[in-house]
């Protein structure tokens, strides 16, 4: 029993790290643009399918394929932002962008169904099936590789945000768009690039998800986005550290609970969210709900 819990925790942390990467992308988009990108889930699936196509049809290794899929997803992200999000204006921007991204998600799902059919597929490579004995039990390599990659990317994101000029612009825009404009920051460019980055990380998340989920199809997007949303809300909208912490926490919690009941594990996920919000409406690390003036 103890052993099972230990394994579940390790599993949870490793997978949670990858979810953390995707959640960071999502919360970054919210923090900078005030947009809740509901399409993030299906974009992860798109990333997974891209890796799948590269792997199955062009025999490119999954990790190497990321060199193609990450930039591709970045471009797709920028395109989605430019075409569908930027035109939205007015007081209801956030609600409208939410619905717009929901619409984009539906369209993408339909397209993926059309191209790939509803059959479940899975990403394969030697490191998906082969396991290594580490932390005291057998673990497929992909978990480790994926976790390390996710961690590296989060670190890279952190460095970009806190050590580069562009990152400063992003943080400034997060705090105050108008002020940023006044000091010469091209807010549109910052927004577009941020959205692109937020989506680009789904390429990585998608690849790892596709390899470790035991099979996915376009419908898997719903499950993903609901988890990601719960994670970023729990961590506090706009808080990157919060997203990471919440991801690891919730995925681990789910992993442990599923020892007893796989069915109820996911309910615990959402119940945890509702519980936290009852006590602290702005999430664990969220900025306090600011009263206007």
């Amino acid at each position: 029993m103890g052993r099972q819990i230990y394994e579940a925790v390790v599993d949870g942390v490793l997978v949670g790290g990858v979810y953390g990467l995707m959640a960071v992308g999502l919360t970054l988009i919210f923090g900078v643009l005030d947009i809740i990108n509901i399409a993030q889930g299906i974009l992860v699936i798109l990333g997974a399918y891209l890796s799948y196509a590269l792997s199955v049809h062009l025999h490119i290794d999954l990790f190497l394929g990321l060199l193609i899929t990450v930039p591709a997803m970045f471009v797709i992200g920028v395109a989605i932002y430019w075409a569908f999000m930027r035109p939205l204006r007015g007081r209801e921007r956030t609600s409208m962008s939410l619905l717009a991204s929901y619409a984009v998600a539906i369209i993408l799902e339909g397209i993926l169904y059309w191209i790939f059919s509803p059959n479940y597929v899975q990403l394969n490579a030697w490191y998906v099936t082969a396991s290594v004995r580490v932390f005291g039990f057998y673990l497929p390599y992909i978990y480790l590789f994926g976790f390390v990659l996710a961690l590296v990317l989060v670190l890279v994101l952190y460095l970009i945000l806190y050590r580069t000029r562009f990152g400063r612009s992003v943080r400034a825009t997060m705090q105050d768009q108008t002020a940023s404009r006044l000091i010469g920051i091209d807010v549109n460019r910052v927004a577009a690039v941020t959205f692109g980055i937020g989506v680009a990380v789904t390429a990585v998340g998608g690849m790892v998800y596709g390899a470790t989920s035991g099979g996915f199809n376009p419908n898997s997007g719903y499950d993903l986005i609901s988890r990601l949303l719960a994670i970023i809300i729990l961590g506090g909208l706009g808080s990157i550290g919060g997203a990471l912490a919440a991801a690891v926490f919730m995925i681990t919690l789910e992993s442990v609970v599923s020892i007893w009941s796989p069915n109820w594990a996911i309910v615990v996920f959402y119940a945890a969210l509702v519980l936290v919000l009852t006590i602290r409406p702005s999430g664990l690390f969220g900025r306090q709900a600011v009263r206007l003036q």
């Binding site: 919210f30 005030d34 809740i36 569908f84 035109p87 939205l88 007015g90 209801e92 956030t94 609600s95 409208m96 939410l98 619905l99 717009a100 929901y102 619409a103 984009v104 998600a105 539906i106 369209i107 799902e109 339909g110 397209i111 169904y113 059309w114 719903y222 609901s226 949303l229 719960a230 809300i233 909208l237 069915n263 109820w264 996911i266 309910v267 959402y270 119940a271 969210l273 509702v274 919000l277 009852t278 409406p281 702005s282 999430g283 709900a289 009263r291 206007l292």
Partner: protein
């Protein structure tokens, strides 16, 4: 002159004209009602009446959704919770109490009450957070309910609950459903209209515009929001119960269907969020359209793509919806027309008095009562 402008109180305009316009309006509505009531007797084709029942259910659902989300501005994507609860209540009730035939309809009020009761804890948690968080919370609660439906035994798990056999003439099978849906629809639209012109509705709409300021002026925001939430839930639950009996079964993914909220939201947005007739129009357009699409495109996925594109189009091009945009165009046309006349009069008599420094007449569309 819209009904809401009647609510504007003793008006500046000519009373005789007002009454005349009202009479025309009332007459029109009655004629419409009569036509709708006679519909299934004229068009007896079961396929047509099935679509009609579907449409009416969604008309009422969209109107109910709008009573909460449209007026308060809190977009809920979890109303399927109420719909599903209503459906399951009737299903489980009929199954466990062995009800058949018309007596099943007696469970409808229960379905509505169950949904309203569910709305209380749901609302108390969800309505304390900011708007964007609220949407996500509704989605989360929705998934919780869907999962519970899958996992509990009394909900029948993955097989769901089946309706008892019906005991009336299969030829006019749809009729009771049609008239019930019509009654619920008319009542909901009426309620929506009443609320809009009422104090309660004003408070809701103030919350939509500036919740903190409204609270600072003494509006009991939590109470108001929760009340609207419960009313909306009540009707939605009622509809869920009716729908269950109509399609004779409920499954976790059909009773708690993610597409439900999306469709209803789309209808409200298309017609005009926060208006009385907007959601009705939206439903009247979209339900048959959806039906048409699923038939045209036998490929399910294509119809999904088209639906999504339609949704996107509405949001990007008609963000305020058909009715407010149309109403604005009409008003500005009228204003320009009367502006020209007034301009001629003013030029003759000199400019009217106004606070110093301000233009004497509001330029452009000085719309009638708020976004109709």
């Amino acid at each position: 002159m819209t009904p809401a402008s009647l609510m504007a109180g003793p008006d500046l305009a000519r009373p005789g004209r007002l009454q005349q316009a009202t009479a025309w309006r009332a007459g029109g509505v009655l004629a419409l009602l009569a036509a709708v009531a006679l519909f299934p007797l004229v068009f007896t084709n079961a396929l047509v009446t099935t679509i009609a029942v579907d449409t009416l259910i969604f008309v009422a659902a969209a109107a109910a959704w709008n009573i909460f989300s449209g007026y308060s501005g809190y977009i809920s994507l979890g109303h399927a919770v109420f719909f599903g609860c209503g459906a399951y209540t009737v299903g489980i009730g009929a199954r466990d109490w062995q009800l058949t035939g018309l007596s099943v309809f007696a469970l409808l009020p229960l379905a509505a009450v169950v949904a309203a009761v569910v709305a209380v804890p749901f609302g108390l948690v969800a309505l304390r957070v900011r708007r964007h968080t609220f949407v996500v919370v509704t989605i989360a609660v929705f998934f919780i309910f869907q999962l519970m439906a899958f996992n509990f035994s009394f909900t029948g798990g993955t097989t769901g609950v089946a309706a008892p056999f019906l005991v009336w003439n299969p030829g006019t099978y749809n009729d009771p459903f049609y008239y019930l849906a019509l009654a619920i629809g008319v009542a909901t639209i009426g309620l929506s209209w009443l609320i809009r012109g009422s104090r309660f509705g004003l408070q809701l709409r103030a919350i939509r515009d500036d919740e903190d300021r409204a609270r600072g002026l003494g509006v009991r925001t939590m109470r108001v929001k929760l009340a609207a939430f419960m009313i909306s839930a009540f009707v939605t639950g009622l509809l869920g119960g009716l729908w269950f009996y109509f399609i004779t079964q409920v499954l976790p993914q059909s009773g708690f269907d993610p597409a439900f909220d999306l469709s209803v939201a789309l209808m409200a947005f298309l017609g005009g969020l926060g208006t009385v007739s907007g959601p009705v129009l939206g439903a009247l357009v979209l339900v048959p359209a959806q039906q048409y699409l699923t038939e045209q495109f036998t490929n399910d996925y294509l119809s999904q793509i088209v639906l999504g594109t339609l949704f996107l189009g509405v949001i990007l091009l008609l963000p305020r919806g058909v009715i407010p945009t149309a109403s604005e165009k009409i008003t500005s046309w009228r204003a320009r027309r009367s502006g020209r006349l007034a301009g001629q009069a003013a030029a003759a008599t000199g400019l009217a008095a106004a606070p110093p420094g301000e233009p004497s007449a509001a330029a452009g569309p000085a719309g009638k009562e708020s976004a109709r």
